[in-house]
C-alpha cells in the first residue's frame, strides 16, 4: 500500500545525487583536464508478493565521459596537453598519481611541478629538473624535454586498461587504484597548450532542467499518492459509520 511513496522517494534520492553531479560538472566548466560525469541508473526489483515485483531505481555508478576536451593555446612553455590517450604521472606524498591537467611550472630548484608543487615524472619515474641557466625549454611531440643544453628526458605518458576504474581525487588527480600504468608507445604531447574541461554547458543545462522536472514529477506522484490514501481512509471511514 505504501510502495508508491517509497518508489517516488527512491527516484528523488537518485535525482538529488544527479543534481549534485550536474552542479559539479558545471562548477568545473573551466577546470583544465576535467572530465564530465554522468550517472548510471539501474532498475532494482523487489518482490512484494509471490508473483509480483515492483521496481525501484538505484544509481550504481558515475561514468566519466572520456572524450578529449578542446585544446586551448596558453603561450606558457610549461603548459602541456596530451592529444589522444594518456595521463601524466605526478609524484605526490601519497604515491604516484595521474592527471591530464598539464599546467606545470618550474620550482625554485628547477624541477617541473604541478600547481600544488608535485613533481612531473619522466619515463624512468624521476622528477625532471631544468638547469638554472637554461635559456629555452622545448617539449617534442613524443614528450622529450630538451633545453639549449641538450635533452633532459622524456615525460612519462601512461594509459590504463580500464580508465573508468581510476579513482578520482581532488586537484584533478587520479589514483590508479591498483591498476598497472602501461606506457603509451607513441604519445602526442603538445607544448604551450592546455586541455580544457570537456563539459558541454548546453548539455548540462538540459540535464539540469530534466532533473528538476523529474524531481517535481516524483514529488507530484508522492503527493497524489498521499491524496489517494487520504481519500481512501475518508471513504472507508464514512462507510463504517
Amino acid at each position: 500500500m505504501e510502495n508508491p511513496g517509497y518508489i517516488a522517494l527512491s527516484r528523488q534520492m537518485v535525482l538529488r545525487r544527479q543534481m549534485d553531479m550536474v552542479a559539479n560538472n558545471l562548477a568545473n566548466l573551466t577546470t583544465p583536464g576535467f572530465k564530465g560525469e554522468s550517472m548510471l541508473f539501474v532498475e532494482h526489483l523487489a518482490r512484494t508478493e509471490p508473483r509480483e515485483k515492483i521496481s525501484f531505481v538505484r544509481d550504481i555508478a558515475t561514468i566519466r565521459d572520456l572524450k578529449a576536451g578542446p585544446m586551448t593555446e596558453t603561450g606558457s612553455p610549461f603548459d602541456l596537453a596530451i592529444r589522444g590517450e594518456g595521463y601524466f604521472a605526478i609524484e605526490t606524498p601519497e604515491g604516484t598519481r595521474y592527471t591530464r591537467a598539464g599546467g606545470f611550472t618550474p620550482d625554485p630548484d628547477g624541477r617541473i611541478v604541478s600547481a600544488q608543487g608535485f613533481a612531473l615524472l619522466d619515463d624512468g619515474g624521476a622528477p625532471i629538473t631544468i638547469p638554472v641557466d637554461a635559456l629555452s625549454v622545448a617539449v617534442a611531440r613524443d614528450g622529450t624535454i630538451s633545453t639549449d643544453q641538450g635533452e633532459l628526458g622524456r615525460v612519462q605518458v601512461v594509459r590504463f586498461d580500464n580508465q573508468q576504474a581510476l579513482k578520482r581525487q581532488a586537484n584533478s588527480l587520479y589514483d590508479a587504484a591498483g591498476q598497472a600504468a602501461l606506457p603509451v608507445e607513441q604519445p602526442d604531447v603538445q607544448q604551450g597548450k592546455l586541455e580544457s574541461s570537456n563539459v558541454a554547458g548546453v548539455v548540462e543545462m538540459t540535464r539540469l532542467v530534466a532533473t528538476v522536472r523529474s524531481y517535481e514529477a516524483a514529488a507530484k506522484l508522492a503527493n497524489n499518492e498521499h491524496e489517494r490514501q487520504r481519500r481512501a481512509i475518508d471513504a472507508l471511514a464514512t462507510a463504517r459509520s
Partner: protein
C-alpha cells in the same frame, strides 16, 4: 542539498576568473605588463559506492562506483612571461628587454625590486630612475654636460660630452633572471619581488648567454591579447550564469519538497 554549495564554488571561481581577466584588460596598455591566467582544480570527491568494492558473494567488484565531486577551487593565478611587442618611442631613456631578464631597482625599503617596464627618466642628480623615482641598479649617473646618451644591446651606457669627440662609458646596466618567473610576487607599480618560489636571481650583462638584449628608444608593450581576453570573458560569464541556474534549479527542487505534505 550539496548542489547549492557546489554551484556556489563554481560562481566564486568564475568571479575570480572575471577579476583576473578584467585586470588583464585594464592593463592592456601598461608597459611591461604580463598577463595572468586563473587556473582551477576540482575539489574532493565523496564516495557513495567505492570503486572496487565487492558487490556479491561471488567476488564480483564494482567497476566504476559512485563518486560525487564537491565543486571547484582556484589552483593558481599564473603570470605568463611571454615577450610583449616592442613600441618604438625614440626616447633615449626608454629601454626594452628583448628576451629574458628584469631590470633591478632599489626600493625605499632597501630591497631590490624587479621590473620589465623600462620607461626610465633622469633625476635631478642625473641618476637613471623609474617614473616613481626609484634608482635603477647598478646606478647610472649621466653627467650634466652630456649631449647624447647611447645605450647598446649589452647595456653599456655611453655619453658624448660637448666638445669631446670620443664617447665615454659611464656605466653598465645589468639584468636579473629567475628560474621560475611565475613565482615572482607582483607588488604593483610594475614591480616584482623575489620569493622562495621564484628562486634566487642570477645577475649578468645583457646580450650575454642566458640574458635578453637591451633596446634603446623602445618600450615593451603588455602581452595581453585582447581578443582572447574577451572570449575568455564571455566563457567566464556564461559559466557564471550556468552555475547560478544550478542554484535556481536546486531551489526549485527544494521548494517542490516543501509543497509535499
Amino acid at each position: 542539498m550539496k548542489s547549492l554549495d557546489i554551484a556556489a564554488t563554481g560562481m566564486l571561481a568564475q568571479q575570480l576568473n572575471v577579476e583576473v581577466i578584467s585586470n588583464n584588460i585594464a592593463n592592456m596598455n601598461t608597459t611591461g605588463f604580463k598577463r595572468r591566467r586563473a587556473e582551477f582544480q576540482d575539489l574532493l570527491y565523496q564516495n557513495q559506492l567505492r570503486v572496487g568494492s565487492t558487490s556479491s558473494e561471488a567476488g564480483t567488484i564494482v567497476p566504476a562506483g559512485v563518486q560525487l565531486g564537491l565543486g571547484v577551487q582556484p589552483a593558481a593565478v599564473y603570470r605568463i612571461a611571454e615577450q610583449g611587442s616592442m613600441n618604438i618611442t625614440d626616447n633615449p631613456f626608454d629601454l626594452a628587454i628583448s628576451g629574458r631578464g628584469y631590470f633591478q631597482v632599489e626600493l625605499p625599503s632597501g630591497e631590490t625590486g624587479y621590473t620589465r617596464a623600462g620607461a626610465f627618466q633622469l633625476s635631478a642628480d642625473g641618476d637613471l630612475v623609474t617614473p616613481d623615482g626609484l634608482v635603477v641598479q647598478p646606478g647610472i649617473t649621466i653627467p650634466n654636460n652630456a649631449s647624447t646618451v647611447t645605450i647598446n644591446a649589452s647595456g653599456q651606457v655611453f655619453v658624448t660630452i660637448a666638445g669631446q669627440v670620443a664617447p665615454q662609458q659611464v656605466g653598465q646596466l645589468e639584468l636579473a633572471t629567475f628560474l621560475n618567473q611565475a613565482g615572482l610576487e607582483p607588488i604593483g607599480d610594475n614591480l616584482l619581488l623575489e620569493t622562495p618560489a621564484s628562486g634566487t636571481p642570477t645577475v649578468g650583462t645583457p646580450a650575454s648567454t642566458g640574458f635578453g638584449s637591451m633596446e634603446q628608444g623602445a618600450l615593451e608593450a603588455s602581452n595581453v591579447n585582447v581578443v582572447s581576453e574577451i572570449t575568455n570573458l564571455i566563457t567566464a560569464q556564461r559559466a557564471y550564469e550556468m552555475n547560478s541556474k544550478v542554484i535556481q534549479a536546486s531551489d526549485e527542487m527544494m521548494s517542490s519538497v516543501t509543497q509535499l505534505r
